[in-house]
């Protein structure tokens, strides 16, 4: 079944005489809002996710502005609502969906040689869930905000807060559905829709990472859903499931909440790791060192990630024996991440390293994620965590992982595949400049916070003792630079849509199926079902890779690329 009948898009031209692709095949709002094409849904996600990223970023800047002065510039209630909004939006509306729902949605089927995800309608529904969730949370914010922090700890959220906890709870509940639906699609698609010859160990590491992510999403998110439902019911009915006044135990809420919310960290960073594998490999024209170890470490992270939630409860009066177990497991989960970092570094050895923006982002990711990961060893150490938990040390740690990790990965991926997605290249010069600015700004923002944290500055403080001011001002300065860098990126991306030069099918001389279809790809990705005869990251001269996306001679079988050197270890 290597050959299937051509779809109508094959070789057809639009009225403007351009080859028909997923962007110009069908026009008008309806063709977008009712599309079942994974690529168009990915774009819908791109717009909505970027929108909320900008909102969340504005809230971040407001936080930094407030902390310019020890007394705080806003009144505490406002500040509490600001950092809650920042947390909820960034976690549930940006970090969780960003990489999987945009890049994963767009690339996963193409990379495995499928025409679409297994359940296109469910895919579309997932985007609508996301939108509805976004609306709920936006309403909650406009109607006075939420002041519980994104963790919704009881009994504050159930009995004491006067803010829109219910609205937010419902919103996050629906957002959870959105990611569950995406997760089902990924798992099923990877299992059942790989092109002939695309064996498990020929899958790009991007796919492995997204597969692992989907596992975490599927097994974790429902617990968050039920936890928030119970919290909402508790807030309405006050029957005491989490309320100590009625014999309930607030720590039970923390257990249930973190059972999802710690694995959620891996939902956020695993896909970015997958992206980075692609960045490094393709821009060094080099097969990933120790492919199988990197692939398996993704699964290991997914599994171990579920066994460590209690390290958020070291001082929450949890049994200290359990605390010790959790600390041990937390160190265990650090190892797979270390393996990834070492392998990426080794991949550069004797490579052909391009200095283009995606590679810069890839290296930036390694650097920041390394620091984020190493400081993870600090907070996993019981004795130290007692001192630094709930301080800025933790804030800095997870921003190095989340922003330095997920965001760098997301932006790197956007640059690598921008041409594939939009058919236009971004301006290289500005992109490099923006990357460097962001890198500097980021470190200036968050490195001082490590010091602040160890000095004892607690998180979620609207005002603080004056001796911390210097470091806070530094941090705010960095945030401004970071924001500027982001602004540049957004501007030139939009600019390039019209003015960027047209992207060839394979601008990077990269390997991987997505580079063997035209940019942008036709509606069903390939003119014929590709037959994979090469290993993952097997690089060959571009001429020898024929492209299955052009209107050309569609009957031509994809000729196998000589594979004298496999990448098996």
């Amino acid at each position: 079944m290597s050959m299937t009948p051509l779809t109508a898009t094959a070789g057809r031209l639009t009225s403007e005489g351009e080859p028909l692709n997923y962007l110009n095949n069908g026009h008008g709002l309806k063709s977008w809002l009712l599309t079942k094409d994974h690529k168009r849904i990915a774009l819908l996600y791109l717009f909505s996710v970027s929108f909320f990223f900008i909102i969340g970023g504005i809230f971040a800047l407001l936080i930094r502005i407030n902390l310019l002065s020890p007394e705080g510039l806003f009144n505490p209630d406002t500040y509490n609502r600001i950092f809650t909004a920042h947390g909820i939006i960034m976690v549930f509306l940006f970090l969780v969906p960003a990489v999987p729902a945009v890049l994963g949605n767009f690339l996963l089927p193409i990379m495995i040689g499928a025409k679409d995800l297994a359940f296109p309608k469910i895919n579309l529904l997932s985007w609508y869930c996301y939108v509805v969730a976004g609306i709920f949370l936006t309403v909650a914010l406009i109607a006075g905000g939420i002041d519980t922090g994104w963790t919704f700890y009881t009994p504050y959220s159930t009995s004491y807060s006067n803010s829109n906890v219910l609205l937010a709870g419902v919103g996050i509940f629906i957002a959870g559905f959105s990611s569950i639906l995406t997760g089902i699609n990924f798992i099923v698609t990877v299992h059942t829709m790989r092109a002939p010859g695309m064996t498990w160990f020929r899958l790009p590491l991007f796919i492995w990472a997204h597969y692992a992510t989907a596992l975490v999403i599927m097994l974790g998110t429902p617990v968050l859903a039920i936890t928030l439902s119970l919290m909402a019911l508790e807030r309405v009915a006050h029957v005491g499931i989490f309320d100590p006044a009625m014999g309930g135990d607030p720590v039970l809420f923390q257990h249930m909440f973190w059972f999802y919310s710690h694995p959620a960290v891996y939902i956020m960073v695993l896909p970015a790791m997958g992206v980075v594998s692609e960045l490094i490999a393709n821009l060094a024209r080099k097969n990933i060192f120790g492919y199988k170890f990197v692939a398996m470490s993704s699964l290991a992270i997914a599994v171990f990630g579920f066994l460590v939630w209690g390290h958020h409860l070291f001082v929450s009066t949890q049994s200290i024996y359990l605390g010790i177990i959790f600390s041990f497991l937390s160190y265990a989960v650090a190892i797979p991440s270390a393996i990834k970092v070492f392998n990426w570094t080794a991949t550069l050895f004797k490579g052909s390293i391009s200095y283009d923006t995606p590679m810069l982002y890839g290296l930036g990711f390694i650097g920041l994620f390394l620091i984020g990961g190493m400081t993870g060893l600090f907070v996993a150490a019981l004795g130290i965590d007692v001192h630094v938990t709930d301080t800025y040390f933790v804030i800095a740690h997870f921003h190095y992982v989340m922003v330095g990790g997920s965001l760098m990965g997301f932006l790197g991926g956007m640059h690598l595949w921008w041409g594939k997605i939009t058919g236009r290249m971004y301006p290289e010069y500005w992109a490099r400049a923006a990357m460097v600015i962001q890198f500097v700004g980021f470190n200036l923002t968050f490195f001082p916070q490590f010091i602040l944290g160890y000095l004892g500055m607690p998180r979620r403080y609207a005002a603080y003792p004056p001796e911390f001011q210097v470091l806070h001002v530094l941090s705010t300065a960095g945030a401004t630079i970071l924001g500027l860098g982001m602004l540049i990126t957004i501007i030139y991306f939009i600019w390039s849509l019209k003015n960027g030069e047209r992207a060839p099918a394979n601008p990077w001389g990269a390997s991987g199926l997505e580079w063997r279809t035209s940019s942008p790809p036709p509606t069903e990705n390939f003119l014929e079902t590709p037959v994979v005869t090469w290993e993952a990251y097997e690089f060959a001269p571009i001429e020898t890779m024929d492209v299955l996306g052009y209107p050309g001679d569609p009957g031509k079988p994809s000729q196998p690329v000589p594979a004298e050197h496999g990448t098996e270890d």
Binding site: M1, T4, P5, L6, T7, A8, N25, G26, S31, L34, T35, K36, D37, A114, K115, D116, L117, A118, F119, P120, K121, I122, L125, S159, I180, G183, I184, N185, V188, H191, T192, M193, M218, L219, G220, T221, P222, V223, I226, T227, L230, L233, V236, A237, H238, V239, G240, I241, D243, A245, M246, G247, G248, D249, L252, H255, M256, T523, E524, T529
Partner: protein, 292 residues
């Protein structure tokens, strides 16, 4: 479920060659399509396991801490209704399985018949749940309402199959006078546990109003879990019945065939899962510390 159906995107001009009419554009074969559907359904059920799992966790923790309160609450439920409903649900699982069997045989008429049986049994289950719920309201053990412990006035409980059948059609049970054995039983229950603590009524006020929740408060927590777990389960039943109705309709219109009946299989999986949840809920909620 209809969402799992995947059809060709409207904005594209179709040119599929000799394909099964129900084969979606992006699949290579019916086989692949069936596989995808089944795997997707199983994964959906996995998320369901974890969803109910959260409530089972809360149940386990508080049953461990407040065992006697949970036992007291459990003893107030009618074991007759519980057992009856379990049997009904198991039977509905059987009819569902048979519906799938006939679908595989391509026997549409029998498919419709067994789907209808399943729907009827499911409806009976919900009817019983409705009766039980209204009893609990009447007895003031609905946790979010005017909760009282121990129960002062108790509702009719069936204590034989005849009673149950009568009550199913809304008639008065024959021998359920307040002096009936069931009443004595219930008195035994409440007195066994009454001295465990003072009762109080909280008309759904905020907990600040409650001084010492005491034993009654913990019984209240049991009933809260009872309503949450059975409520979510009933919700799944309702959704399932909706799906079955849709399938029965489509089957009657002859949509399904020996080659193409995956929705019936998938809905079957879902229905059986809901059955499994109940298989655990029954002993955990109805049978705590029954041996008086």
């Amino acid at each position: 479920m209809a969402l799992i159906e995947t059809e060709t995107a409207p904005e594209r001009i179709e040119l599929h060659a000799e394909h099964h009419p129900h084969l979606a554009h992006h699949f290579e074969s019916m086989e692949q399509q069936r596989e995808a559907g089944t795997l997707g359904m199983w994964w959906f059920l996995l998320t369901e396991i974890m969803f109910f799992g959260g409530m089972f966790l809360a149940y386990t923790v508080y049953r461990h801490i407040y065992f006697d309160a949970f036992a007291a609450g459990s003893n107030v439920l009618s074991i007759w209704w519980g057992t009856f409903n379990t049997a009904v649900l198991i039977a509905s699982s059987l009819t569902m399985a048979l519906a799938v069997f006939h679908a595989q045989m391509g026997n549409s008429r029998k498919v419709v018949r067994f789907l209808l049986f399943t729907i009827i049994l499911g409806t009976i289950f919900l009817r019983v749940k409705y009766i039980e719920y209204s009893d609990k309201f009447e007895e003031h053990v609905f946790p979010a309402g005017d909760f009282r412990w121990p129960i002062e006035h108790e509702a009719n409980r069936p204590n034989n199959v005849g009673d149950m059948l009568l009550m199913l059609i809304g008639a008065e049970p024959l021998n359920s006078s307040p002096q009936g054995p069931e009443h004595a039983f219930s008195v035994k229950v409440t007195t066994k546990y009454a001295e465990k603590g003072p009762y109080y009524g909280v008309g759904g006020q905020v907990p600040e109003e409650v001084q010492d929740p005491g034993f009654g408060g913990h019984v209240r927590m049991y009933f809260w879990l009872y309503f949450a777990m059975t409520g979510f389960h009933a919700l799944h039943m309702i959704i399932g019945i909706g799906l079955l109705l849709m399938l029965a309709w489509q089957a009657r219109k002859g949509k399904f065939s020996r080659e193409y009946h995956s929705y019936i299989e998938l809905t079957g999986l879902y229905w059986h899962f809901v059955d499994i949840v109940w298989i655990f809920l029954f002993p955990l909620l109805y049978l705590v510390d029954r041996h008086l």
